[in-house]
Every structure is written in C-alpha cells, then in structure tokens.
Amino acid sequence: MDIKISNVSKSFEKKEVIKDITFTIPSGEICCLLGPSGSGKTTLIRLMIGAIAADTGHIQLANIKMPNLKMLKKIGYMPQNDALYDDLSAESNLRFFGGLYQLSKSKLEQRVKEVLELVDLTEHRKKLIRNFSGGMKKRLSLAASILHQPDVLFLDEPTVGIDPVLRRTIWDQFQEIKKSGTTIIVSTHVMDEVTECDKAALIYNGSLIEYDSVEKLLKKTNTGRVEELFLMASSRGGVVK
C-alpha cells in the first residue's frame, strides 16, 4: 500500500500550514515525519487519513483516492493526544474501538488480549483510564490503533512524554509491527529517533525540505545529525524572508 501525496496544500484561517507537499511512501517501511513543533506534522497526518480535506492536491492509498470509507478499515491511527475514554477501563476502550471494525466476538477478545500483552498492560486491563499515567495512556492508545491489524499505521508523536526505557520497548514494538508487513508513518520532533526509520520526511514551516532514506540524509550532513539539515533550511528561509 504505497501512499502517494501529490501537491497537497492546506490552510487554516488563511494561514498556509501545508505548502505544496509531494512525496511517496513505499509499502512496508517505517517513514518518519520529522519537524519542530508547529511545523505541520499533525496536519499532514490528518490529511493523509482523510480527517481533513486538502485545499489543493490529492492523496492516494494503494491508488485509491482518500478519503475513502473502505480504506478506513485498513488504516490505524494513533492521535497525538491520547483520545481514550476516561470513564472506561482499558479493556472496554479496546473492545469498543475493536468492535467498530466488526471483528467477530472471539477474534476481538483474542486481539484485545494480544495487544494488551504487546504494550504490557495486561495487569491493568480492568483499571479506568482516568487512573492511568501518561505513559500508560500512550501505550493503550497505541494498542487501540493496532487492534484490527491495519495495513498502514499512522502514529502522531507516539513517544512524547515517555521515559527512555519505555521508548526503547515501544520502538521495538514498531519494528515488530513492521515485520508483519505494516507500513508505519510516525511523526516526531525528537531528531534522534530518525535512526529507527527507513525513510524520513523533514517538514519545516509546512514545507517538505528533505525526503530520502535515512542513510542518505545523514550522509548529507557533516556531523551525522539531522538537526543540521533544519539549520540549513532555516538559514535559507531567513534569506528569503
């Protein structure tokens, strides 16, 4: 399921937030959307899944134009905020979201059990979300987005506010999910995380400033750190402005 983004622009209240972005994410890879806070990563993800419509340009998933109701079954989405129901237990949250994908009852129970194990929340499954810590919510939110075994998984800053040890295990989980053939698009503003990914799209002020395999991107730098690429872009931007 390639994701093709063609000449997409989006404005909020006359301010252009996404500026004419074009790139293609190949199937089965982890692609990272890297950019400082406010650069437009969340907006780009919401455009890709069809939560908002582009002003110009279009987005295709496996050659099907988005938004598309049928494709929603094949998409998993983990929003930037946790988007869980505070008054429900971890289990009930998962059962609810899983139920919306019309999984059979036995399949649903089996998946709930599997994903809870994956994110290491089995012993907290009966707890209400309002008693969860930030990190636990993040993990449950991830669990909810992979319940239905999506072909494409969109993760919006999944590791923000998570301690380094847990961050490591979460990235290991992403690698596991990738092995099962899922394409993962993950946004982050933590530059170090780029090394976990196959490809990286560098977003700065709503523009795509670089898009390549991580290996090649790092070769373009002197120090081997992606920050450089942003500093270069900002000095370029400074001249234009």
Binding site: R46, I49, G50, A51, A53, P67, N68, L69, K70, L72, K73, I75, Y77, P79, Q80, N81, D82, A83, L84, Y85, D86, D87, L88, S92, R95, F96, F97, G99, L100, Y101, Q102, L128, A144
Partner: protein, 342 residues
Amino acid sequence: MIHLAKRVILQTLNDKRSVMMIFIAPLFALTLIYFLLGDSDYTATVGINKNAMPAPLVTELKAQDLKVIYVSNDDFQHPKQYLKDHLDVDAIFTISENASVNIIMYEPSKKSAKALSEIQKALSSLNPSAKINMSYVYGAQDNSTFESLGYVFLGLFAFLLVFIISGMALVRERSGGTLERLMMTPIKRGEVILGYTLGYGVFAIIQAILIVFYSFYVLNLHSIGNIGWIVVAMVLLAITAVSFGAMISVFSTSELQVVQLIPFTIIPQVFFSGLIPLDLIPYHLGNLCYLMPVFYGVEAIKRVMVYGGGFLQIWGYLFGLIGYTFILYILNTLALKKFRKL
C-alpha cells in the same frame, strides 16, 4: 451502533456524577418543588379598625381562615406606612362611609392573594347575592401550585438532564479527540448519532419511569389519564433532548461553551414549557412554542394528566417530537461531515 450504545451506557454508569444527575437530581428537584409549591396552610393577617367596621362583618372575618388584628385610628391615617412597619400584617381592610371597600396590601404576592380571598369570603357570606360559586372543568380550586403545574416539571426534568449529560458527553468526545479517532474507523456518521441516541434512550426510559412513579406514588400527583402515556411522552422528549444535545455540541468546542449557550438553549424552553400560559404572551410570541421540543412533551403530558386524554388526544404532540428528532438526526449527521467528509 450497538457498540457505541453499549459504550455510552458503560461510560455513564462508570461516572457516578452522571448517574446521580440522571436518576437522583430530578427526584431531588421535584421534592424541593413539592415543598415550595405545595399546599401552604398560611393564615393571612388583616388589620381592621374595630370602631369603623360593622360588627357582623367583624364576626364574619373572624370566622374565616384569617388572623384579625385591630389597628388604632392613628395608624389608619397612614395605612401604607403601617404595613411597611408591620411586615407580619398582610392587608389593611376598611369600609368608608359610602360603603366602598378598601383593601391595602404590601405587595402583590401569594400572601396578599390569600388575605384577599378570605376577605371576599367574609363579605359574600354577609351578602349572599354577592356570593360567587367557582368550579373548573379540569382540576380543582384547592389544587396547590405543585398539583396544577406538576406536568410542566415532569416534562422539564425529562428534557433538561438528559440534554445536559448527552451534550456534555459529545463535546468532551470532540475536545478529547475521541470523536476524530471514532470517525477514522469505518463507522457511518448516522450510526454515531443513532448509537448515542440509543445509549441515552435506555437511561431516558429508566429515568421517565422513576420520575413518574416518584411523582404519582410518593408526591401524590394525580393523573386522570393513563400514566403509561406520560412515560411515553417523557421518553420521546428525552430522546429529542439527546439529539438537541448533539446539535449544541456541534456549536461548542468545550464544556464551558455548552454552559454559555444555556441562555439560548434551555431558558427559552423553560419559558415556553407552559409555566407561563402561552395565550397570555403578547404579539403572538406564544406561537414560538412550536419551535421548542419541551412544549410538545409538556403539552402531551398535560393532556393525559389534566384532561384525561389517551393516544388519540396526544398523537400530534408525540409525532411532533418524533419529527423534531428526525430533523435533528439529519442535521447532526450532516454536521459530522466536519470530521469526515464521507
């Protein structure tokens, strides 16, 4: 849709405050109203000038449910000042030389009205030709305000609490991002609204039964018609309230904004609920009642409870509610396009 309804039920049950608000708050408020507007055995106090009043009238006054006190000649010169100084006296009653009756009261209030009606009784028993016999086709003169307006409160509570709870829940779903997540699953837009309506519908049914039983068996409200129809009207009204709450949540991005919209959403409903007789509202503004869902519910309840009507007398109002819900359902489903085009 069933999943959503189940979730709404589970979620509400896990939040004790919502449960209290749906089940306990209306009973609490009705009890309060029962005591505030119930039968009062208040005895009005009337001041008279013994020397200037015919003895038989004094006797008659005393025979009524009145406390009669004698006021000095001096005070009679300035009755208004006297009433200001003596707040426990409700009225000053005098008869001048030409036999015209003067009654001066502190302020238009229920206490003054009580004094007035007792004085009238005394006067008419002296002069039988002035006696007025009053009777009503429906209801009785000695009905307390609670008894004669009870149907309004049944309707109002059935509407208000479900409206607030469902509106808040939907706004929270929006601001918390769960709505966007929900809309990114293959659920249909119409199913979201239906699921919500179904989930809260279950609470509406239990709430209506609870309110009706409490009002009729504990607070001794009387209904001429079958109370089953009252439950039906209340449930339909509460279901309309869910759609109404959903509509309001479209215009609000936070729970605070729902509260800020109350002057536009709830207050007009209260005014047009029948608390104020609609025929008395000037400039035909009373006709605005047809825009208020509470009006349909309250009118149906009134027709059953006070006039003893059945389905044939209230079907117009019931279908009014169903129509209202249907229109709101269409609008809400369209409004969800904001979150997903399809």
